[in-house]
Symmetry: C2
């Protein structure tokens, strides 16, 4: 186990009706907040009215900025920073999914930063000070409600970068699984693929003797997969949503990644798909992950046997580890298919045309600064291209 330094201070208020507590809970922390959200969904569902009523009843003034889109844009972040400065905002309340929360975090990081906030996403340099962010989660997926990370798309440069910084961990997040009842099937599936990937990125690690986090990863993955199928069958299954929703948060608070090297190659490869083709992040991950596994598993066959047995429930003869692994990967593909997720890049409308460009961007080779992706196996741009091709 490696040394670690960890703090996950986000207060999690979880369960039925918790969004109605937003006003009184935030009141001691703010003089004026920015209510940040996406499109019309939260108005149609009545959530907007519930939250603004709670804020008004508690006497919390607020400004508003809607319009966040999936793969949230830098231009709106700039607008949000300007608005917060003009309006004297001291807290951002994100009402939405990972895109809205990530956009809020970018505004929060940029507020005190003397320069373009995109610098931070390019350099990865942490900031000591950011506006506090609170969230009301409407889509369980990104885990951004308690994580230190934010992913923003620079639409001018066609770049999608993740940024992680301790000061971006939300102050408080409200998670009511009832709010997930109306999500469309594809959004449920994308979310599940995303949270699973957050665990896989931590699980596939050469670091020896990480029994505890291995078992936490395995249990969380099994729970998410079992309950995701229940939710797909009946999106109004509150109890199953609790497991998936809570699982999505646990997947990304980084408890499951403590003391171990992490991978993150699939996220790196997927960000290129989203940046260039605007595909849903979860769908891209569902396509890439099994192909990545197939490409890299021989780097640590015993660990992939463990994945197949402990997560995918494969049993049988251990005399042929390759067969065990193959069965594990096949079961993962079958699970994604059962969730209605795509299995190939072709299904995402992606052909050979930009694979080499994306592989070179993902590894930095396109910018003359190649930095191999991943940890379990260091992937040069040619490796990434091979994986993209496997996934066609």
């Amino acid at each position: 186990m490696l040394n670690f330094d960890y703090c996950s201070p986000t207060r999690l208020i979880f369960g039925k009706g918790v969004q109605k507590e937003v006003g009184p809970v935030l009141k001691p922390h703010t003089q004026k907040l920015l209510l940040h959200y996406g499109g019309q969904n939260i108005r149609k569902s009545g959530l907007y009215d519930e939250i603004t009523a709670s804020l008004r009843a508690a006497g919390v003034p607020f400004a508003e900025l809607g319009g966040v889109v999936p793969n949230p844009r830098l231009s709106l972040v700039h607008e949000g920073i300007d608005l917060c400065r003009q309006e004297g905002v001291d807290l951002i309340l994100a009402v939405g999914g990972g895109s809205v929360i990530d956009s809020s975090k970018a505004i929060a990081a940029g507020y005190y930063y003397n320069g373009d906030v995109w610098d931070l996403y390019e350099s990865g340099r942490p900031v000591d000070k950011a506006l506090p962010v609170a969230t009301v989660l409407t889509i369980p997926a990104a885990g951004s409600e308690a994580s230190n990370s934010s992913v923003i798309t620079n639409e001018e440069k066609q770049l999608k970068y993740g940024y992680g910084c301790q000061s971006l961990r939300p102050l408080v997040s409200f998670v009511n699984p009832e709010l997930f009842f109306t999500l469309p099937a594809h959004q449920i599936a994308n979310g599940v693929a995303d949270m699973m990937s957050h665990i896989f990125e931590r699980y596939f690690s050469h670091t020896p003797h990480v029994d505890l986090t291995d078992s936490l990863c395995e249990g969380t993955l099994r729970t998410i997969m079992r309950n995701a199928l229940l939710v797909r069958e009946n999106p109004r299954n509150y109890e199953a949503w609790c497991e998936v929703g809570f699982g999505g948060t646990v997947a990304h608070i980084d408890l499951l990644g403590l003391g171990r090297a992490q991978d993150w190659a699939c996220h790196g490869m997927e960000h290129e798909l989203s940046a260039l083709y605007d595909v849903a992040h979860g769908a891209g991950l569902a396509v890439l992950t099994p192909n990545w596994m197939q490409y890299v598993y021989r780097e640590n066959t015993p660990l992939f046997v463990q994945f197949a047995v402990n997560i995918m429930g494969v049993s049988g003869s251990y005399r042929d580890p390759d067969a065990i692994v193959a069965e594990g990967i096949a079961r993962l593909r079958a699970f994604f298919k059962a969730m209605g997720l795509p299995g190939t890049l072709t299904e995402l409308g992606i052909g050979e045309e930009n694979l080499e460009l994306m592989a070179k961007k993902a590894t930095g080779a396109a910018f003359g600064q190649e930095d191999p992706l991943g940890g379990l196996k260091k992937l040069a741009w040619q490796d990434v291209l091979n994986i993209y091709r496997l996934a066609l």
Copy 2:
């Protein structure tokens, strides 16, 4: 799953050599701290010198109070509160195991409290304000390094009460498993029994659909048990200690108990043993837990089957659930025995003489305010007496 409101803000600095960072990490948080510890062990081991050197190098002034004993005493807590007030202390640094940390928390809670701090332990009333506590852990067991709880013994009244309050969660804890190398075998075993009990108290719950926390409980228990045997075999096994040490913290941050009713009958029953006989808490728990299981399992046989299968690794025919459960409990007893823990009250030097008194104290019946213990099965004083007798 039940609604919950959770925040575990303790920063955890884990791994080799981390105690040397105490000075620079605490410097921004304190003008003067109280160094609180037990006996001579930390002087003999050199830990006292390492920590005071780190504090001095960082320019952190400190007062000192040693003398904490197992089942830490209220009288020393009173002394600590007075000392902190006289010396203008603004942070307490606990260097030791659960007793030292719990004593520190009691001082921290009492510092701002206008009255006897014991009132809080009797009433359970939370306090908004307490001194911040930092810890350097020397015995993995109580989980107090990141929990909200503290257990104090009122030696005059022969009472041992637990108190939980969010403001008692430590600011930062330093956990270096190398510091555990010199623990004697019985202290290792007691600690393991204690951390296991922290999980059992949360695991045995009637709350339905708690898949995620069930699996986290099971994984953490399996990890602790597997590695505890390695540590018993070789107390200098760093990697195994990492699993046990980290497991002990995870066991009690309450992540594993979120959204579910909890039990805590075994802790309640054990506190009477420690208060009256001054036995080690973990040893008392190792004796009581299997007998409690035997007494209550029919309240939820399927859950105890799950315990036997998922934690104790029992397999075989499911047609006879009682047999599966019996095998699970037998394996738990065998594990405790393999750790060198006692299996009966007799081995702890406890006979029939005070069982009824202790049963009545544990349930409040002795004070005319009977409040049954536990959640899975509500235990009246007669039930507690039955369990004590089973354990003789």
